[in-house]
């Protein structure tokens, strides 16, 4: 059954896909709390949303997802500010440039910290709450890049691959209580993360991505590629045997 969202939380909402999701949710009538490090950006976005909607619909909560100990408290304050919570989307992510010859553990650990551990810290709280209440939707933004270990950015692949496994495990924990966990795997989306990068196949706008993601979240699907044709690509890439794959430049 399709669910309507009234109180949403988007982590990583100061730019790109997260920002587009927050704007779309508010435009559809939901209240939305937005989290990211840059307070000024959050303020600006919230101001624009509220001006556009003619009422307070966006609630900025600046936070660095590396500070995991703050999350339980925020998880109490955010639903209180909005008067409820039925959707949590984790969209925060980083993908630093990594050279082909580069083995930089600090970059890798940052990706794991933000893309994976941050997600676990926020979504564990979401799962705890929703599980207790017997409803709610959790969305994690993974990536098609998490489907296979590729030569270009091992840390990023790892963080996204592990995120997908974590989301699956979470789904299996909470599904029986009526809580939905949706794994989203975008292809290339036009955001600051991909800006200026070469070879962006089938690039879509962040607004389009947000539209698809919300439609999937509403239906509570298990896993969605954004757009859907990436599922085929993933299947093809997944079928390539390792001895061939290591020779390809993808």
């Amino acid at each position: 059954m399709a669910s309507e969202f009234h109180h949403a939380l988007v982590i990583g909402a100061s730019s790109g896909i997260g920002e587009a999701l927050a704007r779309k949710l508010a435009a559809q009538g939901a209240l939305v709390s937005i989290v990211a490090r840059r307070a000024d950006e959050l303020e600006r976005i919230a101001g624009e949303i509220n001006d556009l909607c003619g009422e307070e619909r966006a609630f900025p909560f600046p936070q660095d997802v590396l500070r995991r100990d703050e999350i339980p408290h925020l998880f109490q304050e955010i639903p209180r500010a909005m008067g409820g919570l039925d959707l949590v989307i984790y969209a925060a992510g980083v993908m630093p440039e990594v050279d082909f010859e580069e083995y930089d553990t600090s970059k890798d650990s940052l990706m794991v910290e933000v893309n994976l551990l941050g997600a676990m810290a926020w979504l564990n709280e979401a799962a705890r709450r929703f599980n207790k209440l017997g409803s709610g939707t959790i969305v994690g933004i993974g990536s098609i890049a998490g489907d296979r270990g590729r030569s270009a950015n091992p840390g990023y692949n790892t963080s996204k691959g592990a995120l997908a496994i974590y989301l699956e495990a979470l789904r299996n924990r909470v599904a029986r209580r009526g809580v939905r966990v949706v794994t989203i795997k975008p292809g290339f989306v036009d955001t600051p993360m991909t800006f200026g990068k070469p070879g962006l196949l089938w690039l879509i706008s962040a607004e389009r991505a947000a539209e698809i993601i919300l439609a999937k979240a509403r239906r509570g699907v298990v896993c969605a590629y954004v757009p859907a044709r990436w599922r085929l690509v993933s299947w093809v890439i997944g079928s390539i045997p390792s001895f061939l794959f290591r020779r390809l430049k993808i």
Partner: protein, 488 residues
């Protein structure tokens, strides 16, 4: 801007705001629910501690008894929900005078079971015995004898009131008339009732003598109910809300009076709890606790049309003017006969009730219009009940000199919006006729409609008291915010 910055208070691991206190809290009809931090204090001291935390951390508080209000009266999103059921000690009971002192979580059931064996019965009870006395006073409930016995508040001798600031004061009707009449019926907005003193009624037996009278239409129904008031203590009408045209309002009236000792073969025995126990099997076979599961199959428009018709013809043919004796509990708490009956309503929506109180002169016209509106919307009520009332002096009184019609409706994800719209439409003629609504039975009406039923100066008096007793607006509920805030 809010943040998770350093020095911020952390979520406590214990106390009223700890994560494990979070729970989904619903109204009796399950059509509305909200997540709140539920605490169950067992003493006035614990209650004070929780109110202190609420105050220092600026959290809203919602009071709750058994949660038998149909709609959103005892819940609110992201508030501390004070579930008072564990404050349920009977503090004193005087079998000579029939005066009982209780904590607010004592239920109607607990109360009559302690007093009936000695010949005392609560003079006013709702149609279920599960509610707490705190909840009953907060809504100022009425029974099937409202026109002659008044409301539960009319039998309250005094109470202790704890405002959010925590210090308790005793309120009596003679010395504190204004506050007394304002608190009773103010749905938990003017403080926590922490102790209640009630006057019970002497009864000679534990039975009532009931007469069942079939009626052919709404006019006859109201006329007969009105005519029966002088000779009976209880009058209640049921009508088949599926019937239309000339048969609109057809149904059955039950008239009852306390049975005198001389008319009972074993008056003393009838006061014993065994004589009052409701049978736990239906037709002697089906366990009652499972009945709701079967009832699901008829709890739809077609099934209920059939059930209502069968009930009507049964009333006409087999029960025509039949008189029989029934235990007080069986007569008063008919709805407790089938525990969990509300679960027979749709799983994705539950039910709501809408009860309108209309002055006698306009009742027939208004109820007729309401029944017709339901037909127009193709959402006839599954259960429709009429009662007789009298006006009273409580500040937020819902009663008028006249009648009330209570209508139950199933809620589904699909009909919800239309149903809510229909409720607004059902309410218009009530407002126009100078009628009232009852917060315990409401989940849907707008602040505008609700406040349109208030008398001159009533809102101002309530607001003044609220700002004196609870200046920070600590006590609230989804209902209070829906009905009071927009023009508060």
């Amino acid at each position: 801007m809010r943040g998770g910055g350093e020095g911020e208070e952390q979520t406590p691991d214990s106390g009223p705001l700890s994560a494990e206190k979070l729970a989904s809290v619903a109204g009796f009809g399950r059509a509305v629910a909200a997540a709140g931090y539920v605490s169950q204090p067992q003493s006035v001291e614990e209650l004070q501690e929780i109110l202190e935390v609420a105050s220092s951390r600026e959290w809203k508080v919602t009071l709750r008894g058994t949660g038998r209000s149909y709609g959103d009266a005892a819940l609110r999103s992201e508030a501390i929900v004070l579930d008072l059921r564990r404050m349920n000690r009977i503090l004193s009971w005087d079998r000579e005078s029939g005066v009982i002192d209780i904590e607010p979580g004592v239920t109607i059931e607990q109360m009559w079971q302690s007093t009936l064996p000695q010949g005392w019965w609560p003079p006013v009870v709702p149609g279920t015995m599960r509610p707490t006395l705190g909840g009953c006073l907060a809504m100022n409930v009425h029974g099937k004898n409202n026109w002659q016995a008044g409301t539960v508040g009319d039998h309250c001798l005094e109470f202790d009131l704890m405002p959010p600031s925590g210090e308790v004061r005793t309120v009596r009707p003679d010395t504190d008339a204004e506050l007394f009449q304002a608190v009773i019926g103010s749905f938990g907005q003017l403080g926590v009732l922490t102790r209640i003193r009630m006057q019970l009624k002497r009864v000679e037996t534990g039975s009532v003598r009931v007469t069942a009278v079939p009626v052919g239409d709404l006019g006859e129904m109201l006329q007969r109910m009105d005519g029966a008031k002088d000779d009976h203590e209880y009058v209640v009408g049921w009508l088949d809300a599926f019937a239309q045209g000339k048969r609109l309002g057809r149904g059955q009236i039950h008239l009852a009076s306390y049975l005198a000792a001389k008319d009972h073969p074993s008056p003393q025995e009838s006061l014993n709890l065994e004589s009052q126990s409701l049978p736990d099997r239906v037709f002697g076979v089906l366990p009652k606790s499972k009945m709701w599961w079967f009832a699901r199959f008829v709890t739809n428009r077609f099934g209920m049309r059939w059930v209502n018709s069968v009930k009507y013809f049964h009333a006409r043919i087999f029960e025509r003017n039949k008189t029989y004796d029934q235990s007080l509990a069986a007569f008063q708490f008919l709805l407790d006969y089938m525990p969990g009956w509300e679960r027979a309503y749709p799983a994705d929506g539950g039910l709501i009730q809408h009860q309108s109180f209309v002055p006698a002169g306009s009742a027939e016209e208004v109820f007729r219009e309401q029944l017709e509106i339901c037909h127009r919307y193709r959402m006839p009520s599954f259960l429709a009940v009429l009662k007789c009332h009298r006006a009273d002096d409580f500040l937020l009184s819902h009663a008028v000199d006249g009648f009330s019609l209570a209508l139950d409706f199933p809620v589904t994800a699909k009909n919800r919006q239309r149903l809510w719209a229909m409720i607004q439409e059902l309410s218009q003629p009530v407002v126009a006729a100078g009628g009232r609504f009852y917060p315990a039975k409401d989940a849907a009406i707008s602040a505008q409609l609700f406040q349109a039923t208030w008398r001159e100066g009533q809102l101002a008096r309530f607001s003044k008291l609220k700002s004196e007793i609870d200046p920070r607006g600590r006590l609230t509920s989804a209902l209070a915010e829906r009905l009071l805030l927009p023009s508060h």
